[in-house]
Subunit: 201 residues, 2 copies
DNA sequence: GGAAAACCTGAACAGAAAGACAGGTTTGTG
DNA sequence: CACAAACCTGTCTTTCTGTTCAGGTTTTCC
């Protein structure tokens, strides 16, 4: 059951929904194909289940780090780091999410337009608040989020490109730390975040 | 012939390689299925041909904008704008490229590790030169490129997410101009690019 | 004008993959 | 222990899809 979901996540991440076969997922899970159908009925339902498990992770760190009572230097840095670590720890989840979006999000459109949208707009309001309080530059809050998502997801979704450019078979921890540093710097300086030594709030 | 490639690009962008069928591409092109095979033999070869047409676009603007004799303020802003406009003008191409990378780039791995890598490293050297000349901060040059790619591609690949967040059925020109502004600002400030009023070079 | 080459396509084929199902095994429960 | 419920799986069926091929049409070139 859990093994199936794990195997499915792995296979879906490699080949996408259409490119994955129940047979391969079954083999990855070490189970007969019919077993998957016993638990999940159809391939689409299995995919949907996997996706639902991933969906929550997407906005996880947002509410934790981007809050009104934090200083943006702390909030943004923490958020970026959390997103980057997520990209490193769960690249399969990121890829499935990316693949779903690439197709136009047929399965999770509802979630995207409802729950997700509300939370993102809420986060954007916090960013706006930080700007209004003079803690950082005026910058389109939603677009700031889009750019952060873009930068961080790149490290999960397109790591072939990154690895082939750097010429390594996989990113070392130190190289990845450089990546985090770079993205963090881009965000903090890019938003003109004032030093947090001015007391928060 | 050209119609086939165009139709294929459109369909591949929507469903990915595995999710696309020759029948759908044929229909999109208004031709019988057998015709596609007459020209391209196999589905894989058709995909490869489409991809080869796209591959070149990826690095197109890099050599044009990021050159030693430009000031980084001009070079980076121009590059970002070019990439963003490309994302807007040819989202299908961007999506196919993204989809290929997501799968681990089985088809274009060779290109990626050879031609592409060399050019990217060359560009990185220009960025390094700008830093050395004191025109911008010291920042890991390759990672700077990765972040730019990430931010710009997001607007093509994941535009469902962007549209659903903003609550519009498609991005207006002015909204997109805001996006370009935001990304440009993030990059220029993020790299600490000095004002170009100090005469270039 | 005629032959050869290139172009085109309807119909059939072969393999793969999703799903159905019947029958078997284990687990839980009174 | 007995019975039911849940669990499991080998095999079969059906649908889909990439590909082939035989035969036709148009174009090119002498």
């Amino acid at each position: 059951m859990q093994a199936i979901l794990h195997a499915a996540e792995c296979v879906f991440a490699r080949h996408g929904l259409a490119g994955s076969t129940m047979a391969e997922i079954a083999q990855e899970a070490g189970l007969p194909k019919a077993n998957l159908h016993y638990y999940f009925g159809t391939k689409d339902r299995l995919y949907q289940t996997v996706l639902e498990g991933i969906v929550g992770e997407w906005l996880d760190h947002e509410a934790e780090w981007i809050t009104p009572n934090r200083h943006p230097a702390e909030g943004l840095a923490g958020y970026v780091r959390a997103k980057m670590l997520h990209a490193r720890r769960r690249p399969d989840a990121s890829r499935i999410w990316a693949s779903e979006l690439l197709r136009g999000a047929p399965v999770i459109m509802g979630y995207l337009c409802q729950t997700a949208r509300q939370q993102v707009l809420g986060t954007a309001r916090v960013l706006q608040g930080w700007s209004d309080a003079g803690l950082m530059d005026r910058i389109a809050p939603t677009h700031l989020l889009f750019t952060i998502w873009g930068m961080t997801q790149t490290y999960a979704d397109f790591d072939v490109q990154i690895r082939s450019t750097l010429g390594t078979s996989d990113l070392s921890d130190t190289e990845f730390e450089t990546a985090i540093q770079t993205v963090t710097t881009m965000v903090l300086k890019g938003c003109g975040v004032r030093s947090p030594t001015q007391l928060p709030r």
